[in-house]
Structure formats: structure tokens, C-alpha cells
């Protein structure tokens, strides 16, 4: 408990958290607006045209609306979680931290707890905003709120799960990469364009090398995350839970390797 309190104090006593909060709000607003426009466009199409335009069904659109801000929110949580670790090396505070707590795994675990707290707070924040504003947005399009539908609540819950898993992944990545700039850039690139670029690679591999490579696409963390949140998009995509398992796997493996590496590494 002492260590969690110390880690929370570290977070509260620098400017980083509110800089991230200030970035999050407009990004969330953009996401909501984008989802609104998409839905507006979609509602003017027939069911069949919807499929063709690649927008999925109405359920997916409504779920998207109620989880607005997920893309940017997860990215910010991921980066903040990694920075919890990398800033110790960037600002040379690792020495002070590990002198106070030489059992380094305890420090990493405390950071993971704090990362999960951040994830839950950001998820709660965006979810409260979405629950307040999505019904209004839907109302402008003469749509019901859908709040009685289980699929909406499932989407919100899975959204929270994604936030938490990505935050753990962020801590693990921070430990492994250690360089603040390196970790921030790597995570941003992998998160933002990783899915597209890696999808292309997998398509090429499956075309020219071996067909089943396409199935391995789900190993890309962002793809696994999409699968978990939105469910299968193509007919031969694996089921939803596979995405969750893969993401948990990443979080677990990176956390364990990261903790072991931190325990062994020389500080200074």
C-alpha cells in the first residue's frame, strides 16, 4: 500500500497527468463527432449497402458511439503507463526509488496497480461523458438510446477491459524499452499505424508464402484489441475471446519479462 501511495503521489506531483487530461478531452470530442457523422451517413443507407460500405451493422455503430474516445484514450493510457517506468530512468530517479525499495518487483507491481487505476479512471471519465451525450446524439437522428440493450453494456465493459490490458502492456513495454523517447515513439507507431502496416505484411505473406499466415494476424496486439472490442469482422476471423486472450498474454508476458529484467539490471 505504501508503494502504491508513493507511486500515486509521483503521478500527482508532476504536470504530466493534466497535460494528458487536456489532450484527452478534445480527442474524445473529435471521436464522438466522427462517430456521429458516420452514423448519420450510415442511417441513410440500406442494410445491404451498410455492409458494403464496410460500416458493419447498426449494433456496431451504436457500440462505437458509446465507447467514443477509446482509440485516443487507450493510446494516452498506454503512453502514460510506459512513462511511469521510463521517467524513472529519464529523470534519474530510479536510484532513489530502488534505494528506498530494493525489492524492485514491488515497485513494478505498484506501478502496474497505478497504471490500472489510470486506465479505469480514463475509462470511467469517457464512459460517463458517452452515457450523457450519446443518447442526445442518437436523439438527433430519431434513434432510441439503446440503453436497454445488453450489447451496449457489453461494449462498455469490454472497452474497460481493453483499457486495463493496454495499461499493463504499457508498463511492461516501459520496462523493456526503458528509453522514454524510444518507448513513446515505438508504442505510438505500433498502436496508431501498426494494424494497417502489419495487416499488409500478413496479407502479402499469406498471398506469396503460406495461406495460413493470415490467421496469425490476430497476434498483432492492436488487431487482437479490435477483435476483443468489436468482434470478428471477416467471416474467417477468430471469435472475440481469442482477442482478449492474446491481449492478456501480451500484458502478462511483458510484465513478467519486464519485472525479471528490472530485478537483474544494474542501476546507475
Amino acid at each position: 500500500m505504501n508503494l502504491i501511495s508513493a507511486e500515486l503521489l509521483k503521478l500527482r506531483t508532476t504536470a504530466l497527468w493534466w497535460i494528458f487530461a487536456i489532450i484527452l478531452v478534445p480527442l474524445w470530442g473529435l471521436a464522438l463527432g466522427f462517430n456521429w457523422l458516420t452514423m448519420n451517413a450510415a442511417l441513410s443507407l440500406s442494410e445491404a449497402d451498410l455492409e458494403e460500405a464496410g460500416l458493419g451493422d447498426l449494433e456496431r455503430l451504436v457500440s462505437g458511439l458509446y465507447t467514443s474516445g477509446q482509440f485516443s484514450g487507450v493510446l494516452l493510457v498506454l503512453l502514460l503507463s510506459a512513462i511511469l517506468v521510463t521517467s524513472e530512468f529519464f529523470h534519474l530517479t530510479a536510484t532513489s526509488t530502488f534505494l528506498t525499495t530494493p525489492r524492485r518487483e514491488r515497485v513494478i507491481i505498484a506501478k502496474m496497480v497505478v497504471a490500472v487505476i489510470i486506465a479505469v479512471v480514463v475509462w470511467l471519465f469517457t464512459t460517463v461523458l458517452n452515457l450523457a451525450l450519446s443518447p442526445i446524439v442518437l436523439g438527433t437522428m430519431d434513434q432510441p438510446t439503446y440503453l436497454g440493450e445488453p450489447f451496449v453494456w457489453q461494449a462498455i465493459g469490454l472497452n474497460g477491459l481493453a483499457f486495463v490490458l493496454w495499461s499493463l502492456l504499457g508498463v511492461g513495454a516501459g520496462v523493456l524499452i526503458r528509453s522514454q523517447i524510444g518507448a513513446t515513439i515505438t508504442l505510438s507507431v505500433v498502436y496508431v499505424i501498426g494494424t494497417q502496416v502489419l495487416s499488409v505484411i500478413f496479407v502479402v505473406l499469406s498471398e506469396f508464402v503460406w495461406e495460413p499466415f493470415m490467421d496469425l494476424r490476430v497476434l498483432v496486439p492492436t488487431f487482437a484489441s479490435d477483435l476483443l472490442i468489436s468482434g470478428p469482422q471477416l467471416p474467417d476471423d477468430p471469435p472475440r475471446w481469442v482477442g482478449g486472450v492474446i491481449l492478456i498474454g501480451y500484458a502478462a508476458v511483458m510484465s513478467v519479462i519486464g519485472t525479471l529484467v528490472t530485478k537483474r539490471r544494474d542501476i546507475g
Partner: protein, 306 residues
């Protein structure tokens, strides 16, 4: 806890092999309560690496380092036993000094008010709210001391604390460390600058190239090398005096400025030889063995900077 003969820090056969360098090589020494122990060696001798191994930050290749018989990582609340100020330790640039200390208090289960108490102790209480990036080097050193004092430790370990301090700051640090030792605590302080140590240390541990050169009370280490005391003489009859001194079994070297340096003799003996030889002296200076010179002699040719 006043057990004067009990070794507070005990380093036994400590070795650290980096891929290319053996930074610390089978090093053993002890540090006792109630004394300031100077840990001396030229740059690259392995002081920082040794201190970091003692503090559990660097893993030894072999050997052990214990504090009161326990490895640092096994101490239940380490900062209540050991305070440390290391070269590369720092605080987050955007965090205030007070909050920096509070973070440590939280992690160690100490009350937040300890932060204010130690700030007062080092004279930073009026600037505790200022961000670390606005701190001068001297203030940073004071903050480092404040952090080390948080747990009211019985052992204090400092790596080159004089770096970046002005003469007044150095005097302040010296008085603080002496007072600390006078309370029966153990102080281990490293330095590559020795003039300061002579006035501060009770014991010295001298290393070079990762190996122990000498350990013991300052007076003993100085005494051991009394045999190499030097005398400088200036005379218009240098050749005559050199011959006379050599006849007296003394080692003589002509210095670039024309003076003579005589090894292994007291000024009185040199004066006597000159008098007997009827040589006129213009200057006769005994250079007492000082730590700086002893140190240079002991570590000469031991690959100082690696």
C-alpha cells in the same frame, strides 16, 4: 546502538566484472561506527561501482557486501538504516523538492512531516516548494543529504559529495559528517580529491584499478609512508651537495627548477650533511607526508583512469 568495534559495513571479496573491465577486483574492507571512512581512489578506480554494490543497485559478480551483517536488499526498511547520496541520483525536474522527499516518505512508511524536518535540517525549508529544475548544484547536494537523512539512519554512504560544492558548502558538509560520526554513526565517503579527506576522515580505504591498496586510520597510512618523506633544498653548490648526500646514502634528484629533492630524510639530516660538507643553503623545506602525496605514490602506475 554504540558498538564501536562492530563493523557497520563489511565488504568481502567483492568483484564486479563488466564485459571489458574488472571494475572491482576482490575488494575487502570494513567501515566502523563512530568514524568517518574516506574511500579514496583515482577516477575509474571502482569507487562508485563498489558503493552501488553495497547498496544493492549493482549486482556483484562475486563476493558480498553487508550492512550490520545483512545485505542491503534484505534490510526490512533500508532507508531507516542507511542513508545514501550517489552521484547520479536526482529528482524529477518538474517536481518540488518537498514532494520529492514526500514520495520517499510514502514508500518507506515515514510520516510526511519528516520531509519538512530534513529540509529544515539542510537549510532548504524556504525553497522546499520550488521545482527541482530551479535548484543550483549546491542546493541539489543539500537535497540529496536531506533525502539521506529521512530515515534517521545509522550508516551514511556518500559518493563524491564535494563535487560541485563551493568552499563554504564543503566546510558545511565536513562539519555535518563529523557531527554525524560523533553521534556514533558510520560514515563512508568517497572522493578522488584528497586534500579534503585529510581534515575529514578518521580512516581511509585506498583503491586503484579496483583493488585495495591500503586500509587503516589516516595517521597509520600516513606513518607507513614516512620513509618516503621529502626534503627540498636550494643551493648554489648543487653538485657538491648531491655528492655529499649520496655519500650519506640518501637519494637525490635534481628538479627542473634547479633545486634538489632528497628522499627518505628529515630536514635536520639534510642540513647536517650540508653543514659538514661546507655547502651554503638558500632554502631547506621539509615536505611532510600528506595524504595527497601518499595517495599519488600509492596509486602511481596502477592505471588510474581506465
Amino acid at each position: 546502538m554504540s558498538r564501536p568495534n562492530h563493523a557497520e559495513i563489511s565488504v568481502e571479496h567483492l568483484t564486479k566484472q563488466y564485459s571489458k573491465v574488472r571494475a572491482v577486483d576482490d575488494l575487502s574492507f570494513t567501515v566502523h561506527a563512530g568514524r568517518v571512512t574516506g574511500f579514496l581512489g583515482p577516477n575509474g578506480a571502482g569507487k562508485t561501482t563498489t558503493l552501488r554494490m553495497v547498496l544493492g543497485l549493482v549486482t556483484p559478480t562475486s563476493g558480498t557486501a553487508t550492512i550490520g551483517g545483512v545485505r542491503y536488499v534484505d534490510l526490512p526498511d533500508p532507508i531507516r538504516h542507511v542513508g545514501a547520496i550517489l552521484e547520479a541520483s536526482s529528482a524529477h525536474r518538474g517536481r518540488s523538492a518537498r514532494n520529492h522527499l514526500r514520495v520517499i516518505c510514502r514508500a518507506a512508511g515515514l510520516p510526511d512531516r519528516r520531509a519538512d524536518e530534513v529540509l529544515e535540517m539542510v537549510g532548504l525549508h524556504t525553497v522546499g516548494g520550488r521545482k527541482f529544475k530551479g535548484y543550483s548544484l549546491g542546493m541539489k547536494q543539500r537535497l540529496g543529504i536531506a533525502a539521506a537523512m529521512l530515515g534517521d539512519p545509522r550508516v551514511l554512504i556518500l559518493d563524491e559529495p564535494a563535487n560541485g560544492l563551493d568552499p563554504e558548502g564543503i566546510r558545511w558538509m565536513r562539519d555535518l559528517l563529523k557531527a554525524f560520526a560523533a553521534e556514533g554513526r558510520a560514515v563512508l565517503v568517497s572522493s578522488h580529491l584528497l586534500g579534503e579527506m585529510q581534515q575529514l576522515a578518521d580512516d581511509v580505504v585506498i583503491i586503484a584499478a579496483g583493488r585495495l591498496i591500503r586500509q587503516g586510520p589516516v595517521s597509520d597510512v600516513l606513518g607507513e609512508t614516512a620513509g618516503v618523506a621529502k626534503v627540498r633544498v636550494r643551493t648554489p653548490q648543487a653538485e657538491q651537495l648531491s655528492a655529499a648526500l649520496r655519500d650519506a646514502q640518501l637519494e637525490v634528484a635534481v628538479q627542473p627548477d634547479g633545486s634538489l629533492q632528497v628522499l627518505g630524510a628529515e630536514p635536520a639530516r639534510v642540513g647536517n650533511v650540508a653543514f659538514t660538507a661546507g655547502v651554503e643553503l638558500h632554502e631547506l623545506i621539509g615536505e611532510a607526508a600528506d595524504l595527497e602525496r601518499v595517495f599519488l605514490e600509492l596509486t602511481a602506475g596502477k592505471a588510474g583512469a581506465r
